[in-house]
């Protein structure tokens, strides 16, 4: 699951940079394709890693595999 999100934001979305660049983000003025590579994907990676750490820990606890606190 997480690897899928990684692959989408790491690669797939940047295949479409040319059409995305024709869209401009309102107020900030970034072209969308450029923005995704410069900031969008990065934010996704960070949020995803915190979520992964939390979820994996929950799974470990559920199956009695977690370390003692």
């Amino acid at each position: 699951m997480h690897l899928g999100v990684w692959f989408f934001f790491g690669f797939i979305i940047h295949f479409f940079v040319v059409p995305l660049n024709t869209i401009t983000i309102p107020i900030l003025g970034f072209p969308l394709g450029f923005y995704m590579a410069a900031q969008g994907s990065l934010i996704v990676f960070v949020v995803m890693l915190f979520m992964f750490a939390k979820q994996q820990d929950k799974i470990d606890r559920e199956f009695g595999m977690a370390e003692d606190d």
């Binding site: 983000i25 410069a38 960070v46």
Partner: protein, 657 residues
């Protein structure tokens, strides 16, 4: 956290207070220097103060936390909290390439440079999901330790050490080059001498005391480097747009750049051939090389021993995972600012330098010109007279600087932006100190990884298992010294720009380590013979492609079917191979970058930064095939592999301390 004594738990508790005070002190120091500048202290003295003060702080932390205990020396006693380990990893990770090289590359390449930003952040996803926590559970001191245990002994260990030394050595060379660049500019030394001066600074921190000392020093270095990186662009953003958050305002700067690009074309200040629109993709890298760089940097991240080693220091598997997330957050802070840096300095260059009269150029330009890092009209911009003479020599030159006249080395963009934008000199000094912190912290981590591999894996595990602790650590320090001197000697020859050198290190690590690590953790059927063959094949191919295209291009063309790389816009070859092969120096070996074919030949138009893209798949394939041919690994080994996937319980190997 079961084995610690009372004093060290006090130490951990007080970390917040200690580093908080330290950060406040650093900011006060900057303000003090700013006041000194206003009362007229000369720039050179400010530069020296910045460099020596920060170096002194790192050295003091290094001395205070030095250690002679084995587990403290190799893995900082395994009790660095996730948050602080994340910060140390951030400093370990962000090298001269991130700090000095990346914004410059974004400046020059525009959108295509973002391949580096993406590759160097996304890789941590792989570290967290596929590798890091499992190696932590395994309980090794070094990456070769894991290879040796999983793949039956010292032969696998030996190969892993070779991979580690090769990629770390390439990487550390880039860092020493970076410190040399900064020292030569801000302390006014000759580049070749400055390289060795930078080396002294690095050794000072790394020799003193192992992982424990390096960890606490790196946290201090992170604070310096992030403040130094953000300050100039926050000031620029506030000055121009009134909002101190550059990440939000540089969208407007990009729009202005695009407008100015059109204007320059219309007024004859730029030609269509010399202008590369900032936001247009795939002008500098073909899509293959663009996505190749993303992929190689991501996978390389998950294979670099000095990064993986950092996750051996956390108290638990859970904290190892959290720590990866913290690392990425701290790295992200710098990486999502880098494109803003590039946009602001590009806008300044396009409006203040391009179109300016050649006689009215600012003096800061000449200090870089003397080092050969800025050229105007094809000559080093050493002085006004030199530029005027050079431009006069060009037929029909209008007397103002045109885009095609102005060549700036990517590595000076970050260091010179405060000067380009006319900020006070104290900001330049701060940026230099930050660049030094970035280069030093990474070099420390790398040298430590090399020294650990040589002393722990080669000397202790392979040569003399009975060696006493003191002798092991002494051997580590002596070896460290020779490795560092060798890479400084290489750096003095300027083998490539910082980013390319670091890119090579990632590809080498990826081809050599990644298949064996992944298969070792995730496929129980992987045999020792398979892994050894896979590492040799993948790493060998990658190293061959790199060395051949950089140092033996003539032989590559003549004997190994290499052809010219192609221009991504037109698809035409970038060098005329037939013509280049007819030149007298065609078969020259170990040529400089000026050689017509060096770094410009290869297979399938693949840039040699991406050599891991050839080596890694081969490595996986060979591991798979050879493993299936051999006998299944023993039941105990398969049980061990199951064991490292469960966070609960003891580590798989226990080291005596």
């Amino acid at each position: 956290m079961t084995t610690q004594t009372d004093t060290s738990s006090d130490f951990i508790k007080n970390l917040g207070k200690m580093y908080g005070t330290y950060t406040g002190g650093f900011i006060a120091f900057i303000i003090l220097l700013a006041i000194l500048e206003q009362v007229g202290v000369p720039n050179k003295i400010l530069g020296y103060l910045f460099v020596f003060f920060t170096l002194a702080v790192y050295a003091v932390i290094g001395v205070m936390t030095r250690t002679a205990q084995v587990s403290e020396y190799y893995v900082a006693g395994r009790r660095v909290p996730a948050f602080y380990n994340g910060m140390a990893t951030g400093a370990d990770w962000m090298s001269a390439a991130s700090f000095v090289g990346m914004a410059g590359t974004l400046f020059l390449l525009g959108y295509d440079g973002l391949a580096w930003v993406l590759g160097w952040t996304g890789g941590f996803v792989l570290v967290s999901i596929l590798i890091g926590p499992y190696l932590r559970k395994f309980g090794a001191y070094t990456v070769p330790d894991f290879m040796a245990f999983r793949f039956g002994g010292n032969f696998a260990r030996g190969i892993a050490v070779v991979v580690l030394v090769c990629c770390s050595f390439t990487y550390v060379t880039a860092q020493i080059y970076g410190t040399g660049l900064i020292a030569s500019r801000f302390l006014g030394m000759q580049f070749e001498i400055a390289v060795f001066a930078g080396l002294v600074g690095i050794l000072l921190c790394a020799m003193l005391g192992g992982m424990r000392a390096v960890t606490w020093t790196q946290i201090a270095q992170y604070v310096v480097l992030i403040i130094a990186y953000l300050t100039p662009i926050v000031i620029l953003s506030t000055k121009k747009y009134g909002i101190p958050i550059p990440e939000l305002t540089y969208g407007t700067a990009i729009a202005e750049i695009t407008a100015r690009e059109g204007q320059m074309l219309a007024t004859g200040l730029a030609t269509a051939a010399s202008l590369k629109p900032h936001i247009a993709p795939f002008i500098n890298y073909s899509p293959l090389n663009f996505f190749g760089i993303i992929f190689c940097m991501m996978v390389g991240t998950a294979s670099l021993p000095h990064i993986l080693m950092r996750y051996f220091t956390t108290p638990s598997v859970r904290e190892a995972r959290q720590s990866v997330a913290w690392s990425l957050l701290f790295i992200f802070l710098l990486y999502f600012s880098a494109p803003a840096y590039a946009a602001f300095s590009k806008l300044e260059v396009y409006t203040n330098i391009i179109g300016a009269n050649v006689t009215s150029l600012k003096p800061w330009l000449f200090t870089w010109g003397e080092l050969g890092l800025i050229q105007i009209c094809g000559k080093n911009a050493g002085s006004i007279d030199a530029i005027v003479a050079a431009c006069k020599a060009i037929a029909g030159h209008p007397g103002v600087v045109r885009l095609q006249d102005f060549v700036i080395n990517t590595d000076v963009i970050v260091l010179s932006t405060p000067e380009i934008a006319g900020l006070p000199y104290v900001i330049s000094g701060l940026v230099a100190a930050g660049g030094l912190a970035a280069a030093l912290s990474t070099a420390d981590g790398l040298l430590l990884a090399i020294a650990n591999a040589l002393s722990h894996d080669v000397y202790y595990k392979m040569l003399d298992p009975n060696a006493p602790t003191i002798r092991r650590l002494t051997v580590a320090r002596v070896l460290l010294f020779f490795v560092a001197v060798a890479s400084a000697a290489l750096a003095a020859t300027k083998p490539g720009d910082i980013l390319a050198m670091v890119g090579w290190a990632f590809s080498l690590a990826m081809a050599g380590n990644f298949p064996a690590l992944i298969m070792g953790v995730w496929w129980k059927r992987t045999t020792a013979a398979g892994a050894i063959a896979g590492m040799l094949a993948g790493f060998g191919l990658c190293l061959f492609y790199l060395v051949c295209s950089r140092y033996f291009p003539g032989y590559g063309v003549k004997y190994f079917f290499m052809t010219s790389l192609t221009n991504p816009l037109t698809g035409a070859p970038i060098v005329d191979i037939a013509k280049a092969m007819a030149l007298p120096n065609a078969m020259e070996t170990w040529p400089t970058l000026a050689h017509p074919m060096a770094n410009k030949v290869g297979w399938f138009g693949l840039n040699n930064i991406n050599c891991g893209l050839l080596g890694m798949p081969l490595g996986f394939l060979v591991i798979y095939v050879v493993s299936l041919m051999g006998k299944e690994p023993s039941k105990e080994m398969q049980a061990y592999v199951d064991e490292i996937r469960k966070p609960r319980g003891r580590t798989v190997i226990e080291e005596k301390t």
